[in-house]
C-alpha cells in the first residue's frame, strides 16, 4: 500500500515535469455581465481575456489562445488582438484565425482564436510562438443565438504553446488546460404579457 502511494506521487512528478503547466495568471471580463448565469437571445457580449506571464518550459513560447464556445453562441468576431510580446527579434503578429493546424506532431487543429504568426505568412501553425513573458490581452465579440431553447453558452480559453500548435518540437508545455470564462445558458424565461387595459 505504501509503495503504491510512493509510485503515484512519483508518476505525478514525472508527468508534471514532462508536460509543465506553462500558463500564467488568467483573468477575464464580460461586458455586459450575465444575469443569473444567462444572456438573452440575440444579446451581444464582449469578452476580454488576459494572461499575465508565461513559463517558457523547454523554450516553449505561447502560440495562441483557442476559444471553445457552447452551441448557444451564434457568432464570434475579433475585436482587439494581444500585443506582441516582442521576445523574438524577427517580429511576428497576433492574428485572428477560425482554424489553425499545427506542423508539429501530433497534428492538431484548433480555433477560432488569436494565434501568433511569427513569419507573417497567414499560417500560425507552421512557425514558433510569441517569445517572452508578458501580459497578453485580447477581446472578442460574441453574439447569443436567437433561439428559444436554453442552449449552453460556454466560453473557454485554452492557451497553447508552439510545441503543441506551432512547429516547435518540445513537449514541455503540452498541457492544454481550458480556462473557463463562462458556463451559462440562454435565458429563455417565458415572455409574460401584462394585462390588457382599455382606455
Amino acid at each position: 500500500m505504501y509503495m503504491k502511494f510512493i509510485l503515484t506521487i512519483l508518476i505525478f512528478f514525472i508527468v508534471s515535469f514532462t508536460f509543465s503547466q506553462c500558463n500564467g495568471t488568467q483573468s477575464f471580463t464580460l461586458t455586459p455581465p450575465p444575469t443569473s448565469g444567462t444572456y438573452l437571445p440575440g444579446q451581444v457580449v464582449t469578452m476580454c481575456y488576459t494572461m499575465n506571464g508565461y513559463t517558457q518550459a523547454g523554450t516553449n513560447w505561447i502560440e495562441g489562445f483557442d476559444l471553445t464556445l457552447g452551441p448557444g453562441w451564434s457568432t464570434s468576431a475579433p475585436q482587439t488582438a494581444p500585443a506582441n510580446c516582442g521576445g523574438n527579434s524577427t517580429g511576428g503578429q497576433w492574428v485572428w484565425k477560425t482554424s489553425v493546424t499545427s506542423t508539429t506532431t501530433p497534428i492538431v487543429t484548433v480555433g477560432p482564436g488569436y494565434f501568433f504568426d511569427l513569419t507573417i505568412d497567414g499560417n500560425p501553425g507552421n512557425d514558433f510562438g510569441d517569445a517572452g513573458s508578458c501580459v497578453w490581452t485580447f477581446c472578442v465579440t460574441l453574439t447569443v443565438a436567437n433561439v428559444c431553447t436554453p442552449q449552453n453558452l460556454l466560453i473557454q480559453v485554452t492557451p497553447g504553446s508552439d510545441g503543441m500548435w506551432g512547429s516547435y518540437t518540445s513537449t514541455s508545455c503540452d498541457v492544454a488546460t481550458p480556462f473557463t470564462v463562462f458556463n451559462g445558458t440562454i435565458n429563455t424565461v417565458p415572455i409574460v404579457l401584462g394585462p390588457i387595459t382599455h382606455n
Partner: protein, 193 residues
Amino acid sequence: MKRVLFTLMIMISGISLSQLTTLNPDTVCYQSAALSTYTIPSVGSGTYTWTVTSPGVITTGQGTNSISVNWSAASPGLIPNGVSVTYSSPAPANCPATPVNLNVLIYQVIPTITAIGPFCESDPCVTLVGSPVGGSWSGIGVVGNQFCPDNVTNGTNATSTVTYTVGSSGCSFTTSVVVPVYGTPTLSPIQHN
C-alpha cells in the same frame, strides 16, 4: 393582538384593491361609435398579434402593443375572449408568449317611459315615470321630473317629444315618447240672426 389586527387590515385592504383594479370583463357601450383603445405593456420590439371577435374590427395598431377597435356593430352581451393578444420576440428567434385574453361586455340598458297623455292644454302637471330609475328627463313641457302640458302650447294643438336618459357604467341610453297636447278650444261668439 395588535400585530394580528394589523395583518388583518393589510389583507382586507389588499382584497379591496384587487377588486377595484379588476379589468375583466371590459365594458363597451352598445352601438357606441367611439373607438376602444386596448393596450398591453411593451415587452420588446417583436410582433404583437391581436385578435378581436367579429363584428369587432381593429382599425389601427395591429402589430404593436396598442390597438383601436370599433365595436359599433356588436350585439349586446358578453363576448368571451373578445380581445386577445400574443407576442413573438424579434426574428429569427420568434419566441412566443402565452396569449392574454379579455372578455368584452357589450353593455346595453333599455330605458322605458310609462305612457302619458294625450293632454289638454289646461291639464295639470303629471309626474314622469321611467325605468330604470335615476335617469333624467328632457323635452318641451318637462320641468324636472314633471310634464306640464300648458308649457307645450298656447291654444293650438302640439306635440312634445319627451326623452328619458339613463347613464350607467360610463354609457348613456335614451328613449323618447311623443306626447300630444291639445289646445283649449275657443268658441266663437253666439250670433243671432
